[in-house]
Every structure is written in structure tokens, then in C-alpha cells.
Subunit: 163 residues, 2 copies
DNA sequence: GGGGGATATTTCGTGTACGAAGTATTACGC
DNA sequence: GCGTAATACTTCGTACACGAAATATCCCCC
């Protein structure tokens, strides 16, 4: 019941597949855990740290831009910004150009906090990646990018698979 | 503090690193999204589908075993089981051997549901992986496993980095 | 064999995370 | 210009997800 549906050659490197899935899950969840711990030192949560680091270089972003950058939905980010505004790290400003848009900007307190945080949220992850040999980095990038593209293709025509 | 520990050559293949991070995030989140959509067809959430698929082959598991398998904390799984019990898919049974332990088992209704679900939660992911050439699968497995091990090492002595 | 520590689970409080529905504003078609 | 669609954001309800504290039970050792 595990035979591959589409590829002709038999894939018996099943341990490889398991290892890949496990490694990806591990890398992702572990990087989130580390980010959370890091953020905690500054009284922040993981997403809140991400928001601050996104805002620091550019000054302000619309809520939608922020949502896109941290890969969350508007309704999620609304809540995150609510809590950050409550703590006085950011403030909302209605855009003059388009009154539907809300700009999120760091307050003075938020800026001080941002500049006191030296580590990027993804540091650990990237540090480890940077240790890869150039060849391995290239290989990994090539294969993962191909995988992602393939997933994207498959997801478009979602497998309508009734029972 | 960013100098690579093991590789001598400077890593300027920064686009590769970006691509890798992005691909991993994409693959992980997309696989969750697909799982969620799949589970939704059966009136389940992603984690609930995972629980049902874990229970199906073995009959019952303690809450802790379940937590370990789906990589969540006990307090999280308690909630998931609460909701699944409310819907009549699983039931709790106090262990006879050790009265601290709670066994989670599929009900008749849960078993019917489980057997009607043909797709594994990770199917899409694995299908794409299975399309890799054997060489690429081996390479990917090798590199990711090394990355994961390295992250594990680094996380142990967490970077005590005051301000 | 009784007390203290370890273990399994639950409860509680907080913070994401999402989709659906609602509100306000802008853009478009004619 | 006016109605309608599109866009930006918020609100609401539900479901994770986690850590800390509480509870129940077991284990060990004196």
C-alpha cells in the first residue's frame, strides 16, 4: 500500500524519504523554538520579534505587507499588532493616501528595543547553513527548490479524491 | 561570532541560503495546509487526522505516546483528545497497570472513519519526494540529516547572549 | 511501610492561526 | 455620478500550542 503511484522506478530508499521528512519538520519546529526562546529574553513572542525586525529597517509597513512578510493572515496579524500596541512597541496610523490602509510603525520604545536586539530571528538556522560546503549548499538549494516547485504544481490541481 | 566553525571558504552563496530557508518554510507550511484541507473533507482538523492515523494500526496509545508521535505537548494533546472524544471518535480508558496513564482508543465510529480515509496525511509531500532521483534523495537526506544534527548540537549549549 | 521524589495527565492563562462575516473605503463600469 | 465590485482591515468563533501549576498515582529507599 506504499507503492509510488506515478514514478516508474521503485523507490526503496524509503528510509531516505523518512529522514528527509523528519529533518524538515525538525529544522522548522526547532528554529521556531529557538526564535521563541530568543524573543523571550526581550519579553517578546516569536511573531512579535519577527514584526519588530521587519519594521526596523523600513520604519513602517501596512498591515497587509506585514502579513505577507511573516506569512500569516491579516486576521492573525491584527491580533499580534493589538498586543504589541498594548505594550507600546508599535502604533497604528491611518494612511493618508488610502484610508483603508493602516500603517504599523515602531514607537520610540519599540525602536530602542529593536536596536538592542542583535540577533536575527533566523540566526541559528542560517549559521548552520553557512557551515555547509559550497557544493552542498548548492545541491540542497537545487533539490529543495525543485521540490517546492513540484509541490506548487501539484497543489494547484488539488487531488479531488472522494473517499 | 558568525565565522563558520568547520568550513574554511567564505559562504557568499547567500541566495542559496535564502532559497533553502524559503523552501523549507514553504514545504512545511504547505504540507500542513494540504493536510488540513484533506482532513477537512472528513470533518477533521489536521492534528485530529494525525491522531486517527496513529491510532488505527495499533488500537490504543497512551496520551504521552500520542504526544510524542505527533510532536506536541501533553497539554496540547489533552485538548485535541477532548474535542475528539466530544465528537465520538476516540475514548479515554484508564490503564489498569498504571492508573496514572490514560489510553486513547478509537471508538467504533472512529474506526469506520479511519478505514474510510485512504490517504496518509503526508502523502503529497512523500509523493513529490518519491519523484526524486535516487541520487538526489540520498544527497538531500545526507545534507538535511547533517544540518539537523548540527542544529541539535548548537541548541544544547544555547547561545547565552546577554543583550 | 511511609514519606519524598518522579511520572502521567489535566487545568489555566496567553498567544498564535485561520476562515467567515462585517465595516469602511476605493476603484470601476457605464 | 452612481451602483457594484474589489480591497484593507477588524471581529468573532474555533482549534491548536505552550508553560506553569495542580492532581493523582507510582516508585524507591530508609
Amino acid at each position: 500500500m506504499n507503492r509510488p503511484a506515478s514514478s516508474a522506478e521503485p523507490v526503496e530508499a524509503s528510509e531516505d524519504l523518512d529522514a528527509i521528512v523528519e529533518a524538515i519538520v525538525f529544522l522548522y519546529t526547532e528554529s521556531r523554538r529557538v526564535t521563541k526562546g530568543l524573543a523571550g529574553r526581550y519579553g517578546l513572542t516569536g511573531p512579535q520579534l519577527a514584526v519588530i525586525k521587519m519594521l526596523e529597517p523600513v520604519g513602517k509597513l501596512s498591515l497587509s505587507e506585514l502579513s505577507w512578510k511573516i506569512r500569516a493572515r491579516n486576521s492573525t496579524v491584527t491580533g499580534i499588532i493589538d498586543r504589541m500596541e498594548r505594550e507600546g512597541w508599535v502604533e497604528r496610523r491611518r494612511s493618508e493616501d488610502d484610508r483603508r490602509v493602516v500603517h504599523i510603525a515602531l514607537t520610540a520604545r519599540g525602536k530602542r528595543l529593536a536596536s538592542s536586539i542583535t540577533i536575527e530571528p533566523v540566526t541559528l538556522f542560517r549559521r548552520v547553513l553557512a557551515e555547509l560546503s559550497e557544493r552542498d549548499a548548492r545541491e540542497l538549494s537545487r533539490i529543495l527548490t525543485r521540490l517546492a516547485r513540484r509541490v506548487r504544481e501539484l497543489v494547484v490541481d488539488l487531488p479531488e479524491e472522494g473517499t
